[in-house]
């Protein structure tokens, strides 16, 4: 028995030791402003990030050339004190603010921007948004040139490992020279950045506020970057972006602490040029996966802001039903829609009935969208009658075609015209969705609508997220739920998706007329004519209905307006957290 007791004591001591050494999870000190994110960051590399919660933190850590002023949503100088645009709209000259400094005291230079933008362009970094940089003269060609340089290494046979290494050693210096010679980004002096575009792009200035265009501290990033052995690919040590000791930032904050899946603390950058205007000196982001737990902590007063209550959660619908004064629902520049596979034949070689626009229009017209937002999601999102959310783009009013309206009789007529007077003859259709996000409820309602209105029977197919995106990409579906959130304030952020060659065009709808209208718009320099061409393109999209828009997204946030100042919810989810004050 004594041995048993000894064993128990030893186990107890071991557990006590484990508790004492329980990692960096202690310490829950209060910051000036605390908010919640549903998950830890996927990547804090500004050139490679694309998730909403990553972008939110990047905006605090990095300052791009310009920023949006809130609540006006007008462009204001940031790292660039001023800029000029050439009369032909092709050349932008940015003058970097002389007082702008990195968190280590180094001055922010045009070279830092060039370094960052080059990182975004090269295929080595595999940046999601590299194509945004193809607006810059020579960038797309440079991308392919570098790709070929890397591909050559895979194909070539070298006499000895020494030869291979000598070749690899030469590749990156060659690439740097080629970039300098061919890409339209240059800096005549450290304070001036000159950018030459392929064509006049009215939204380019606004685009530069996007995180992918933020600068990086060239010296420290270079230190963390190396050429990968035998493949010659340039790689930045990913842990650099998560390491407070090494990460150098030029935004209002620096990274003070990062505890994986626990929290992230940002404190005021002592070298930030505009710190006198900041209304807080520290921000803490807490990661909480369960929305109910996040709400509980918010109610206990330990959280100031819940920026994104998952709209698919039951909690969201319950909170909306309570009409809480601290719950702010605002429109978001995104659309929930259904993709129709438009390929002429399906995977099994049979004729695809959805290749006929009349069938797609009939299915779309048979969807009772109002019931979906009122009774299924219970969030009363704006019903979508267009792909681009109304009010999201200045000067652009989306066209309204009748394809997205609930018209049972017209739907029946169109289906009969397409040869399916008896809806039950339209077979082989299924709705594909990813599970666990509330999509099943919407799919159930749409299935019911199609059965009741058209007599068309469809299957429901729920698969997990990774398999879902794979099937969407390979058109291994007939009908699938989809969504799209705009990246920047121009109609092309939505409309380019449906261009025939676009990698995100999951419906594989190919319309020469649509492509031509987009091309025409890209050539037009008159803003009104350009918008008119884009509107025409969207109108065509809505008539042909390769997609059935269901509703436009909303964001649900919780904060006490009497306590938290300066958040200014807006349709593009732009934030300036440095100007937020908690009373």
């Amino acid at each position: 028995m004594r041995r048993l007791l000894l064993l128990c004591c030893a186990a107890f001591l071991l557990f006590s030791l484990a508790f004492a050494l329980r990692g960096e999870h202690g310490g829950d000190e209060k910051a000036d402003f605390t908010f919640v994110s549903p998950d830890d960051h996927n990547f804090l590399d500004p050139q490679r990030m694309s998730w909403l919660h990553d972008l939110r933190v990047a905006e605090c850590l990095y300052e791009p050339l310009v920023r949006f002023k809130l609540p006006e949503l007008t462009v204001e100088p940031a790292a660039a004190a001023k800029w000029e645009v050439s009369p032909d709209g092709l050349t932008y000259t940015f003058h970097i603010r002389p007082e702008a400094q990195w968190s280590n005291g180094d001055p922010v230079t045009a070279g830092d921007f060039i370094h960052a933008w080059r990182r975004a362009i090269i295929p080595d970094m595999a940046a999601d948004y590299s194509q945004l940089f193809f607006l810059i003269a020579g960038a797309e060609d440079f991308f392919h040139w570098r790709q070929e340089q890397l591909n050559f290494l895979q194909r070539a046979r070298f006499a000895s490992p020494g030869d291979l290494q000598r070749h690899i050693d030469k590749m990156w210096p060659d690439a740097l020279d080629h970039f300098k010679e061919t890409v339209g980004i240059s800096s005549p002096d450290p304070g001036t950045l000159v950018v030459r575009l392929v064509r006049p792009t009215p939204y380019f200035l606004e685009l530069t506020q996007f995180s992918a265009f933020a600068p990086v501290h060239a010296a420290s990033v270079e230190k963390a970057t190396s050429v990968r052995e035998s493949v010659g690919v340039l790689e930045t040590d990913a842990t650099y972006w998560a390491d407070p000791e090494r990460l150098v930032t030029n935004g209002p904050y620096l990274l003070a602490r990062r505890r994986f899946k626990n929290d992230l603390l940002m404190t005021q950058n002592p070298h930030y040029w505009n710190r006198a205007a900041m209304r807080n000196t520290s921000i803490r982001e807490v990661f909480i996966a369960d929305p109910n737990m996040a709400m509980l902590m918010y109610k206990q007063g330990r959280i100031d802001w819940l920026p994104e209550i998952p709209t698919a959660s039951r909690l969201a619908a319950d909170l909306v039903a309570q009409h809480r004064p601290d719950l702010v629902a605002s429109p978001w520049a995104g659309t929930y829609f259904y993709d129709f596979n438009c390929l002429p034949t399906l995977e099994d070689g049979t004729v695809n009935p959805l290749a006929d626009a009349r069938v797609r229009r009939a299915l779309s017209m048979a969807i009772d969208r109002k019931t979906i937002v009122e009774r299924v999601t219970r969030l009363n999102q704006p019903v979508a009658r267009s792909f681009i959310p109304p009010g999201s783009l200045p000067g652009y009013e989306p066209p309204v075609e009748d394809g997205a309206d609930f018209k049972p009789e017209e739907a029946k007529r169109l289906l009969a015209e397409a040869g399916y007077a008896d809806g039950s003859k339209l077979t082989g259709l299924s709705i594909l969705f990813n599970t666990g996000q509330g999509h099943e409820n919407v799919a159930q309602q749409i299935k019911r609508s199609w059965e009741e209105v058209l007599g068309v029977s469809v299957m429901l197919e729920g698969v997990e997220g990774k398999a879902f995106s794979q099937r969407l990409k390979t058109q291994h579906y007939t009908i699938a739920r989809a969504s799209w959130i705009g990246d920047y304030r121009d109609a092309t952020t939505f409309l380019d998706k449906h261009a025939s060659g676009n990698g995100n065009n999951d419906s594989k709808w190919a319309s020469a007329e649509y492509d031509s209208l987009l091309h025409q718009a890209s050539e037009l320099t008159d803003p009104a004519q350009r918008l008119a061409a884009l509107r025409k393109a969207e109108s065509l999209l809505l008539r042909e209905q390769p997609i059935a828009p269901i509703f436009h997204y909303i964001t649900l946030q919780a904060y006490d307006p009497a306590k938290v100042e300066g958040l200014y919810p807006n349709i593009w989810n732009f934030r300036r957290l440095e100007f937020v004050r908690v009373k």
């Binding site: 128990c8 991308f143 996966a289 990774k466």
Partner: protein, 306 residues
């Protein structure tokens, strides 16, 4: 005993190699692209190819070769494919102490509750206390942790406000998740002890001890419990490995940052590096805990030869 320890430790790499192979094959054949997202932008084919090449996802043989080399030579489990700026080794190193703490306290609670309820049941079979213990044990086994966890959170955090919700600052923060995790093993231990004691108390050596004039508590604690505890000891090995490597449900309910969530996240996100990392750690812990139990077995009862 030294021979046992040596042979088990020598078997460890072999077992891990089998576990690695099975996990690797399963992770590789599951449909879906680890780098894709249901709602994300799809990068150009060139970028996709570059990303896959970066993580060796374009070639399973190269992936396996590189992975094994890195783990064996540098102890590097690679990057997470979901949290790209994190290393799997660091994620496990940060999460394991949390899971181990909660799991360790849960096992300690399970022992105290289980042995207590089991002893009462064996000493006073059919009494009110025995029945109450059995009911508690039944509830412990039957209720899933997401129910007990939510109930405990509601009662102690929301209504009584005794402990913080979702915090990991004070020693009391470990109690609710540990209690949630402890109920099922406590119930099982209670049943093992009760049955074991009922059996032992009617055996010859207990009768002899009583005949020598020892009181019931003396018989129980000096002789009977030691024998009845042996099955509990065998149960504790795998139970400790399971509880100390975390629970997805409990960690999510109480917002703990252990490694339990990594198991589910890794599968959900097809994060092959993370999946292999946590499975290898789990397998190692299971083997080590079983070895500790075997050694403890012989130590507690010297009659057992290893």
């Amino acid at each position: 005993m030294i021979r046992l320890i040596t042979s088990r430790l020598l078997q460890l790499p072999l077992i891990l190699a089998v576990v690695f192979t099975v996990t690797f094959v399963l992770a590789w054949i599951v449909p879906g692209d680890p780098l894709s997202r249901p709602d994300g932008r799809r990068p150009s084919p060139e970028i996709e190819a570059a990303m896959k090449r970066q993580y060796n996802l374009d070639n399973p043989w190269r992936f396996a070769g590189q992975y094994i080399t890195n783990v064996a030579t540098k102890g590097d489990f690679g990057p997470s494919l979901q949290y790209l700026d994190q290393r799997v080794g660091r994620m496990i190193a940060e999460g394991l102490p949390v899971s181990a703490t909660v799991g360790g306290v849960a096992i300690a609670m399970a022992l105290v509750i289980g042995v207590g309820v089991g002893v009462i049941g064996a000493l006073r079979p059919g009494s009110v206390l025995d029945m109450a213990g059995l009911v508690v044990a039944l509830i412990g086994v039957s209720l899933p942790t997401f129910v007990t966890g939510a109930i405990l959170l509601m009662v102690f955090s929301v209504w009584l406000n005794w402990v913080n919700a979702g915090a990991w600052e004070h020693w009391t923060d470990v109690l609710l998740p540990a209690l949630t995790l402890s109920l099922a093993p406590a119930a099982y231990i209670a049943r093992l002890i009760r049955l074991g004691l009922a059996d032992v108390m009617s055996s010859d050596f207990v009768r002899t001890a009583r005949a020598k004039g020892l009181s019931d508590p003396q018989v129980l604690f000096r002789h009977a419990l030691k024998v009845a505890f042996l099955p509990v000891l065998s149960f504790l090995g795998p139970a400790a490995a399971v509880t100390m490597t975390g629970s997805f449900v409990v960690e999510r309910i109480f917002n703990l940052h252990g490694i339990g969530q990594h198991f589910v996240d890794a599968v959900k996100n097809k994060d092959q590096f993370l999946l292999l990392g946590v499975v290898l750690v789990y397998a190692t812990m299971l083997i080590v805990f079983n070895l500790i139990v075997d050694v403890a077995y012989a130590w507690v009862d010297p009659r057992i030869e290893l």
